[in-house]
Subunit: 329 residues, 4 copies
Amino acid sequence: MLNIGILGCGRIGQVHAGSIAHVDGASVAAVADAFPEAANALAGKTGASVMSADEIIASDGIDAIVIGTPTDTHFDLIQAGAKAGKAIFCEKPVDMSSDRIRQCIETVDAHGVMFLTGFNRRFDPGFAAIQARIAAGDIGNVELVTILSRDPSPPPVSYIKSSGGLFRDMMIHDFDMSRFLLGEEVVQVYATGSALVDPAIGEAGDVDTAVAVLTTASGKICQISNSRRATYGYDQRVEVHGAGGLLRAENMRENNVEIATEQGFRSAPAQNFFLERYAGAYVAEMKHFVECVASGTSPSPNIRDGLAAQMIADAAAQSLETGVPVKLG
Amino acid sequence: MLNIGILGCGRIGQVHAGSIAHVDGASVAAVADAFPEAANALAGKTGASVMSADEIIASDGIDAIVIGTPTDTHFDLIQAGAKAGKAIFCEKPVDMSSDRIRQCIETVDAHGVMFLTGFNRRFDPGFAAIQARIAAGDIGNVELVTILSRDPSPPPVSYIKSSGGLFRDMMIHDFDMSRFLLGEEVVQVYATGSALVDPAIGEAGDVDTAVAVLTTASGKICQISNSRRATYGYDQRVEVHGAGGLLRAENMRENNVEIATEQGFRSAPAQNFFLERYAGAYVAEMKHFVECVASGTSPSPNIRDGLAAQMIADAAAQSLETGVPVKLG
Amino acid sequence: MLNIGILGCGRIGQVHAGSIAHVDGASVAAVADAFPEAANALAGKTGASVMSADEIIASDGIDAIVIGTPTDTHFDLIQAGAKAGKAIFCEKPVDMSSDRIRQCIETVDAHGVMFLTGFNRRFDPGFAAIQARIAAGDIGNVELVTILSRDPSPPPVSYIKSSGGLFRDMMIHDFDMSRFLLGEEVVQVYATGSALVDPAIGEAGDVDTAVAVLTTASGKICQISNSRRATYGYDQRVEVHGAGGLLRAENMRENNVEIATEQGFRSAPAQNFFLERYAGAYVAEMKHFVECVASGTSPSPNIRDGLAAQMIADAAAQSLETGVPVKLG
Amino acid sequence: MLNIGILGCGRIGQVHAGSIAHVDGASVAAVADAFPEAANALAGKTGASVMSADEIIASDGIDAIVIGTPTDTHFDLIQAGAKAGKAIFCEKPVDMSSDRIRQCIETVDAHGVMFLTGFNRRFDPGFAAIQARIAAGDIGNVELVTILSRDPSPPPVSYIKSSGGLFRDMMIHDFDMSRFLLGEEVVQVYATGSALVDPAIGEAGDVDTAVAVLTTASGKICQISNSRRATYGYDQRVEVHGAGGLLRAENMRENNVEIATEQGFRSAPAQNFFLERYAGAYVAEMKHFVECVASGTSPSPNIRDGLAAQMIADAAAQSLETGVPVKLG
């Protein structure tokens, strides 16, 4: 039995606690949160003990920690957790600073602890099936990847201001997905964007509509588009062209019903909420974490994947600012 | 060059004349119609001569006739045409009376002329592909066939009164399709129906909503449903279940555009008009006719197929009246 | 808190216990099974007590029972449960004999207990959405309903022999669905069928491929087709035609990925297992049960719905045997 | 009656002659080709006279010319045709040199002749419907356009060498489409590409896999991807995101049949050939030309649209070469 401590009992911490209930061989042993009510509520649901984060990290009875606290606290918790020999499941982004992620890699390596970066979309059944088919050679050499992500509606401008910007906050998921599907490192990034959804986002120095073009050393290309708005639900699609064919994943719909009238055939909007859309992905992600700890294998995505995505995001932000493509590595 | 005489220059005669323009090795040599304006108009478009039906049948320069006149004139034209040695393309139904179709078969056989019954749907690219895949064994032994046909809106009640009823006028296409796809003769028919679309249709002694269940000697089953109304276009679908899988044909849409909004994803209605829906089928049907004449092979569907469908329609009408299944053959 | 006793800890009892965990205000208080290992296993998972069925029914601490035992035990459990004042959730069929279901109705009515019949498909998000849209008038008056159910593969012949036959064992779900969607009682049934999947099923006196045609007093028609085989997954579809349009529910697929190659576009098979396909339906069904108990409203489907479906199944079996339509009511 | 002279009787000249047969009020009066056999063949089909291009332009009996000759002959024919007062339908590209297109605009303007540039895709029923819905405000302000074009297989390298490169030869269609859908001029282009399909294309100095990012003054963005290879047919898709929703056009399939087996659901490849895919577009394009001549209105796309697309193509080629975005205008 893997005893897990949940650090951060907000929305994402609750999701991970719920996932653990579906994973054999793992249980929520303790929970911590800066707000006692949040910790108590999650403890009530899971039967876990309430402790402080420090107590959890110090406890011999805890084997692994799930870090779902605010991003600016990740660094210290990773440092402490790694030194205490805990297996670490850390929400993305590992840190806003690539340099600090490099420091975390050093500590994690030095103490030989297992580290999973929470890019949950790798575990979506559709996207995972696409990657498995690529790996199986079903479409031959990958040539062109197209990724589209659109949120149903923008977050508050207050959130935008501290988010690190669209590339580090939102498109970072797609940067990880591009590496997952291209199977090769990105060497150059061009990005551009506009504030079309809400002028206030532009005034806050960010964009809400953006595209990026990524290229690899062998000439593979990845196109990404993002928007903070999609009236028809949470739009999450991937399309991969290879020498032998095409793989693509459509959106999940709210239901499978169609109505036909004089106006034509109408089917349901896309599932609107990320927790619903990626419910299966979160459970699969936790299973992978627990299996990696049990078997001693390195997870995918690991901490270096976290760094790589952050570096692409930094390059994209720089490209937007400078107006020219930015080289990586 | 096959010189063809068109008997009847109404809507369907015009369709067949238009098809002939797309078929190499055939041309419209002469046209006939009880209304001189109709004949003149079609002659103007095709460059054909205007003659009477009798003249066309008597002419040595005409090799084949296309009969698109009112159903009650088919019998005499078939008799005369067969005796004159013309290849015959006759619109469905061959005749409202199975006995008279049998007489036509005798004459056609006696004079050894080629005869195609105009069940155009066998030539629809989708339905033809399904039949070809069945014949190729792609789904193994056929077990269950489901056919759905819905007209966009009912014809005038005046038409209904002289139509022979829904089973002989509308579902007869599906009876032919059932034989085409089952690959085995129908031995029993159960049919029921209601006047739900328009009470006047019921008062005229007919139904506008109907289903039939057909069974074969080996136990294969075919379900058919018909309605005189479909708000979302001309609904024409076929589904075949075999031991190894399913084959199905969806409707043709007006275009391939989808709009997504808060209300979900909406695509275009089905093509609304039979001439548009079956445009390709009419051309393929004429090609088949011309090729059969050229090669001396018997067409599919031939005159016996015309009789078989009529007999199923008769049995369905009798089942509706008596309330019990009716045996055939 | 509604304290529930689970009678029968086999596959379906486990499903219902799992559903209760997702329903606020309800918990599994006790479990019973003829096999102690089964009861102990489910008690271990849920934290419930192991009791005998009699003890559960006699216990003051139990408010409701879920009957998931073999069909021939339902009658006695319903009688005892109703007399003890328990709310009852009973798996379909209530009983193989319509007369005995009528006796249960008397007892249930006499003691004023709440009774839900476990036709889970009414709670499928797609089928429930169709019924809600019909009720909202989105397609006007319902005219024609088409229901298709195909199991991935036939059960063992030993099961077939004690199943009551395809109409009472399998198509009964569709009979309930027909009433749910037609919104009007069925007055006549015609059914036919064959043993095409497995001759041994025929030798056991049953069919494995069957259709039924149901009609209502106002002339609405419902077509049903069933097969014990579908190579491409568990095929469960509903299509409803009304005066104003069409509502239909497609199958749920294993995932939303498509691959395109020279062979065309290929997407995943239908979800293959009923527990996966109807996972959401089982939870919604239990929520409805718990809400009905809490609010004192009669559930849908209730015990009279269980009787009505059984009577249609009896009529269908009689129609298959006699070869003619059978009147109901 | 508009009397049209066809200049160039190759594949595209034959397409346009065929389209004219479907347009009321227009006829092919004369045809010209450097190869007498080609001219004679098309004259035989259409009943037109064979003349030289000079004779056609000089003829008082000819009202309009369709230029389907090699690109390097367009300039002289446009100059002569405009001076002779002919309405001009010119295949894309107008010329490989933007400067020479500007000279053509001067002459066309000076002589007040009507000029349509043959970007046939604007007339595709799907793409035209999308533009019409944008114009009708169905999705509000356009924010992001995604265009994908993939040819089934690359042309011979000999063709590549004289083609002007992928951006001027292939993606130019998408550049025109971007302007058609964005409704605003493109002010900057970033493009990149690789030779992944065939190294010989790279050795010839061109790319076969490419993307471009276009931006407008108000911040709208268009993504384009092209490949010279698509195993599953001719891939032609457009997707437009606006403030109120999404419009997209899927590919046309070879037929509407689906087969379901253990391997899942398989439907037909995309229509494989551009003449089949855009058959309807070519006819609609010719109708628009004839109507514009009849009504004296300026066609869309006109000669300035031809110039604008060429300038974007030039900028994209320059961006590929220099590695940085290129500004326009």
